[in-house]
Symmetry: D2
Subunit: 309 residues, 4 copies
């Protein structure tokens, strides 16, 4: 299997974890979901991310799910697995499992207890030792969820100290200045790593303009991210915005903290990507009014896409 | 002066506080800004809100600024003043000042230390005693900023216990279910208070559908909120969405935490509403890339509005 | 095995998890440690608590360690296992394992995301369903660590709704009023559950006076807690304070957040309870000055105990 | 008036703010309290600290209270005033007032929003500019209350950049290693500033051993801190511990978060230092059981002091 490296670009879709209506892991839907994401143009997949309900899985379930996804992908695109854990022993165990099964790399977010610059740098030093030099890792910078703020200078210290850190999942909302600062540093000689933007894609056109290499996030219409990225790469910036704007009302609605995942899974089920939109408990459920909102937004999105295509 | 009551509706714009380039309070711009907001259709104004840089003012400056705004408004629309303070003595002092000068009511957000339901209810009991029965107040429910989560049942307890609580500034992003729960409760006999939506207007169409009476938030194009509210009130829901969608890309860009206020003030200065877009220190400043983003979004917004009008 | 019930009292020592110098789980030391705690008078043991480095263990290690402890205890005292987890699937898995191996009950702390009263009550409803009606559980109320504040009225709602909630590990520092409120409620008819005090025993005499049934916490000299509890139970309150005061300087020193566990393990190793005082990484280490402090405090404690005995 | 400088040492008592039973500022008690603290050996006073209920005062009250204290002290010892504020304009206003009235310096804690090293350094750069070069300031490092963790290297950066930073109020519980690191740095050439220990004095003997120059904290028996400091300075370390241990049970009881101030004021009123132990609302009140605890601890403390003297 090819390993993740600094040249990664495009759209790594944050995959959901499909469950049946009664909360069991739905492995057949994992197959279908993989096919769906790849049909829509994903250039990579990320599993067990924050929107992947990873903490709701047992250690065995996590390993089984990743194994199933990897088997279905079968090397067509690189797969990154989230291995953030409360302790390094569990992180090592999961990382060894997924890399042994063919993952291209792993992703680690900082624990909420980190505060000072040195604490963050030290943490990723232990992460790199835990994973070993042969496992490339993605630094997930998501202050809204982790409550850890990582200055650009700290990211650069980690990049310098840890050759196995090859990608930043950029999710400091929207942190456009952070992308610019990191790119300015690599122009001056710092190792240039891949930066994929998160935040549900809500700032994707601007993030690409500042130097992001693509997106690593979730949205029930991953083709939006693919098409925006392609238009942007082709120099068609206004076209990228036109596409983005057409999807924005729904993308915004799907980004409701604590509720957005139910919306995303509803849409994925509606689109046939998974059998059920159910979240494993605890998880929010959609009201009739929510569904009415969603259906209106989908209808409007469909019309708008027809207008601009 | 007419006092705020439960029947309030429409768009209460959260006003910025204008400063000169060197950080002095710019009272002449306060006049101009008032005229601008009223020309754009504001049905009320809110000063000293979280986006009003209130904590950067001395007690004297706060009183002077509110006095100037009230004089310029001259009773044309109700004015609400934020009086959140670390202690009740400062809250009483500011509240007495602004109500004496003609404010229609005041707004109070909960301090970050509150956790349990009873703590929140007790806090607003002390707020109501501090303000006195003749001062109507707005409960600001903004968990993302305050870190205090107020359940619908707790809001209803406060509404029942405090007759002077006449409005909810709803900012539990987006908390559509919360609006619906409160409206269901008033259908069953709870006192119905005004609910104005915040969150930069990013969920305004859906919030209106769930029962919000309008918006209380900021955006450099307040006419968006006014027009969406009017269209919605006229039963033209798709039209409301069309208008909303045209402004959404810029409204989204203006909602960047910690950076959005600089964008808003830049736009207000550009539109002639204030003399300078400067924030009092500490405050973020715009890079050239930020300004390029903004100008592009404004140009696109102008084009899109022409298409739909 | 006898199950934990509301009548539990005495001293449940929060056991450390012994590691070798190179970070491996040290199961032979687990045996020695069990013998040590029981010789010192422990009436119960609690494993995998917050001071037990539980998050540093893999799921397999957690199960192995609890199994070893249970085998060594061999029914002499009840053993409670911490099963707090980020998700219910992992909680169920660990709970089934430890109860199957003979634990008397399990302990669950609330996740940091809980805020409102209803959220907390709902969480423990899901906990009780996850564990099943035959598994007694301890509610761990430790706001300093969890950032979740649980009002006495909320504890009473959980006690009423969940018959399997049989004990409160009281760690709302020091929350003497909370103990009093809960006891007043049980005097008026609420189900009376066991309350064991935490906080390193630093408020033990006062907590016993307010109605605590003993302690569930750690200290390298568990005989302090046992002796204080016995003296108090015998009505010798001043004697209880005399004993407590003799140990207080060291107990205080051992309660340094983030550093105390290294001190505790150093002392346990020094006393022969475990082979090594090492923490699994990441964990703090003792400086020469720390050790000098400890040795001085131990010498002073020894002298003072001689004076009062 | 002599200004605070790096050579400051001894015991700066954190003064309470006295109120009458109905919550009015009690300026006559401010006089009595000053006399009390000075009689007990205070080498300095600190007003408007976190335990001084500063946020409950209006801006005018704050200025009046400090003015009264300064008049009564009349230059006998240096007085430091807390000027932490949500904004720099209010900080400047209060600082100018108190320095003009004869304060020796001011104290500033970091706002809870600071996270990265650079943010903290920048904040204190703005603090130093706001205060001006002639106003010495104390850096208050109190992570438990502020949620801001300041690494030793960051303190050293501030010390280097800001000549007006002359003292650290050390309250990183207990952070003995931090004191040692700072002293090691000044041994190697960094400017040596005064370090006074906080935390209610609960680690005073150990903090002095690591290099603290004294204490800046509150306790209803400030003579404990004075006597421990003097014994330590005289090389009588065991004697320092003997004295400390005699007061420790009560000092511990007075350190209950959110409740300790009511205990401290009760004791100060009992000792005649202030007329009433009342806190301005909101503030906790003592139950009968609390008072019984306190009285027992005072009686035991009195006996123990007789034994060792």
């Amino acid at each position: 299997m090819t390993l993740l490296d600094e040249g990664a670009k495009g759209v790594y879709v944050i995959a959901v974890t499909p469950f049946t209506e009664d909360g069991a892991l739905d492995l057949p839907s994992a197959d279908r979901m993989v096919d769906f994401y790849l049909e829509k143009g994903a250039t990579g997949l990320t599993v067990l991310g924050m929107m992947g309900e990873a903490p709701k899985l047992t250690a065995d379930e996590s390993r089984s799910f990743v194994r199933r996804v990897l088997a279905r992908v079968n090397g067509r695109v690189p797969v990154v697995a989230g291995v953030s854990a409360a302790g390094f022993a569990a992180m090592a165990e999961l990382s060894e499992s997924v890399m042994g099964d063919g993952a291209a790399g792993v992703m680690v977010a900082p624990p909420a207890t980190l505060r000072t610059d040195d604490q963050i740098v030290s943490y990723y030093d232990m992460v790199a030792r835990t994973l070993g030099p042969k496992t490339p890792f993605v630094l997930q910078d998501f202050p809204l969820a982790t409550n850890v703020q990582i200055a650009p200078s700290v990211i650069l210290r980690i990049v310098e100290a840890q050759p196995s850190c090859v990608m930043l999942k950029h999710e400091d909302w929207p942190g456009l200045a952070k992308i610019a600062a990191l790119r300015a540093a690599s122009d001056k000689g710092a190792r240039r790593i891949s930066i994929l933007a998160g935040n549900g894609g809500l700032f994707l056109p601007e993030e690409l303009s500042r130097g992001a290499d693509g997106a690593m996030t979730g949205f029930a219409y991953p083709e939006m991210m693919v098409d925006v990225w392609k238009a942007h790469a082709a120099g068609q910036v206004e076209r990228a915005h036109d596409l983005f704007d057409a999807y924005l009302p729904l993308a915004r609605y799907e980004q409701q903290p604590g509720h957005g995942l139910a919306i995303r899974k509803y849409l994925l089920a509606k689109r046939g990507a998974i059998a059920s939109g159910a979240l494993r408990k605890p998880g929010s459920t959609l009201s009739g009014a929510d569904i009415a909102d969603i259906e209106r937004l989908v209808a409007r999105q469909t019309r708008r896409l027809q207008e601009i295509n």
